[in-house]
Symmetry: C2
């Protein structure tokens, strides 16, 4: 490492006052120049002097101070439980992040707080975000919404399976996913259908609605039955589970997502069952893994509302925080038929 860069150990950073002094003007003028406020009310000569001084000193405005004065932080808080591990979420978050950033907001991701409801909401509220978008996070309940409103946060949006009283809602109808899968299984002649729910409890928020959609769909057909089965992404456990399937002679399977479906398919094959001949399998989320396995997985894909649109919606609501709560659907589902069912 040749370069040294003097290891400047961060003295007191320059403030707008330092810039003012260096340029021989007032703090007010510095503010005007640096923010391009007041069209031509500052002479070009002064402007140049101010800008030069700022550059010299390495001045960077203090967003915290600005936020305090402005009464708005420019922060959009995204709350999410542990589900953040999923590939879909990561992708969505990245896009939302970037869309918000283009609109001048800072996206802050707030993971599990170890609290729920009002208690969690107090944590969020301390940051005084301009909006809270709660993604599949069941710690946002009615009390939480109330705390946020009372803390002056006008825009609260829940994105999840069900709306929350007092908040705008992006309804992600996970129920549809399960329904669509089971309808297809029934359509291809399957009657004894297993539904795989992840053992990982942090995924229950998604999993249970998918299950209940599956159950509802089955009820529509007299001879179809659905049985709930837990599975973890562990091959040992999967082998054991496969025995169960052999015993119960299930002929159809809907798995929580393509990862679980893949593990399941492997285990079934290892147990001597053929997919789809003996057991037809439908996954969900259209993940890469489903296209690589043989047979290729039939899956229910979800198309989320583009992050850009959601960012725009947040921006709009922040501009008009008294808009009555609205609810809209947040994803569309579609069946992708491949080889496994």
């Amino acid at each position: 490492m040749a370069s040294m860069s003097a290891q400047s150990p961060a003295g007191t950073p320059p403030t707008s006052e330092d810039v003012a002094r260096a340029a021989g003007v007032s703090r007010a003028t510095v503010s005007y120049v640096l923010n391009n406020t007041r069209g031509g009310r500052v002479s070009e000569a002064t402007r140049e002097r101010v800008r030069e001084a700022a550059r010299q000193l390495g001045y960077v405005p203090h967003a915290v101070a600005r936020a305090l004065r402005a009464g708005r932080s420019g922060v959009v808080l995204l709350t999410a439980p542990a589900v953040t591990a999923g590939p879909l979420f990561a992708q969505f978050f990245a896009e939302l992040q970037s869309a918000l950033s283009e609109l001048g907001y800072t996206a802050v991701l707030y993971g599990p707080t170890g609290h729920r409801g009002a208690e969690a909401a107090r944590r969020w509220a301390e940051l005084r975000p301009d909006a809270v978008l709660s993604l599949m996070d069941d710690s946002l309940d009615e009390h939480a919404v109330d705390v946020l409103h009372r803390a002056g946060i006008g825009v609260v949006v829940s994105a999840g399976p069900a709306p929350v009283a007092g908040a705008h809602a992006l309804v992600a109808d996970q129920v549809q996913v399960g329904a669509m899968a089971v309808e297809h299984l029934v359509a291809v002649g399957r009657r004894k259908i297993g539904v795989i729910v992840p053992a990982d409890v942090s995924l229950r928020g998604f999993a249970e609605p998918r299950l209940s959609g599956a159950e509802t769909a089955a009820r529509a057909h007299p001879s179809a039955t659905v049985v709930r089965q837990e599975l973890s992404l562990d091959e040992g456990a999967a082998a054991q589970w496969a025995e169960l399937v052999v015993e119960t002679r299930a002929d159809g399977l809907f798995a929580y997502n393509d990862e679980y479906a893949s593990v399941a398919v492997r285990a079934l094959q290892d147990a001597g069952l053929r997919v789809p001949e003996d057991v037809a399998v439908v996954g969900a989320d259209d993940l890469l893994i489903g296209r690589l396995l043989r047979p290729k997985l039939t899956t229910v894909r979800m198309d989320f509302t583009p992050a850009r649109e959601i960012a725009a919606m947040l921006d709009r609501l922040i501009g008009a925080p008294d808009t009555p709560t609205e609810a809209r659907s947040y994803l569309r589902t579609g069946l992708v038929i491949r080889e496994s069912a």
Copy 2:
């Protein structure tokens, strides 16, 4: 939705002054009570009155104001290029987030700004984070570090393939990954080795070091050669790529990660080649898909330094910002031998 909660459209939120008024004390006293400052210097009666007033009003402290006054924001800024860098990253981020949160920090994830170097750093600096942790983000260069230091941010850490002058470094030695893979391929008798680099340029920061490690390892063995091959996660492209492998008669393959390896294995099999007999394949990152594919993938797994340790390190550095820059390794690599090589 029965309950109404008055849809309170966020009037002016209560401040500590409101609480003071309601409790019949001064703002100072409110602050003391709510922060448990000054051991027993406030009477129990007063404390109770203050707490009750705060509860009544739904008071939530204003973190922005607090940060301004305190001179530290409690924010740890994580910068990352494309967050999409894979499932490993998402997992790591979630853990770090939670570890920091336990230490009282707020983790803010800042995606690509559309700027690099000093310009990007100015964006980050505006938030006055207590620390900046730059994850595999090549927009952090020497100038950026300088901007951050001048803005009073004492703790700047780069986590990536190479250290950056002036910043602490968590060195993730991706080079080792490639080296380890190729050494194994050579050890099992392969000489003509293809290395798959993702076509997705956002992954280059990881991919190139892995490739160069592969090249170095090959040079250590006189008869071994390495040839770089681009591939995207698209089956059409993969089929075409497989033709190339058939022609060139490569007998070993190291793919960027297990996803790429899986796509590659599929394409090879579809082209009539046997794995590992004709072509031995090594992947990386030990992803789920590698265990589900047949043959099971041999892979190079990476064990990152636990997020908890990194959070602790950041906390320590924030407490002593003048610590001379230190560098430490950030991951350990290990070969997981399965069936594909």
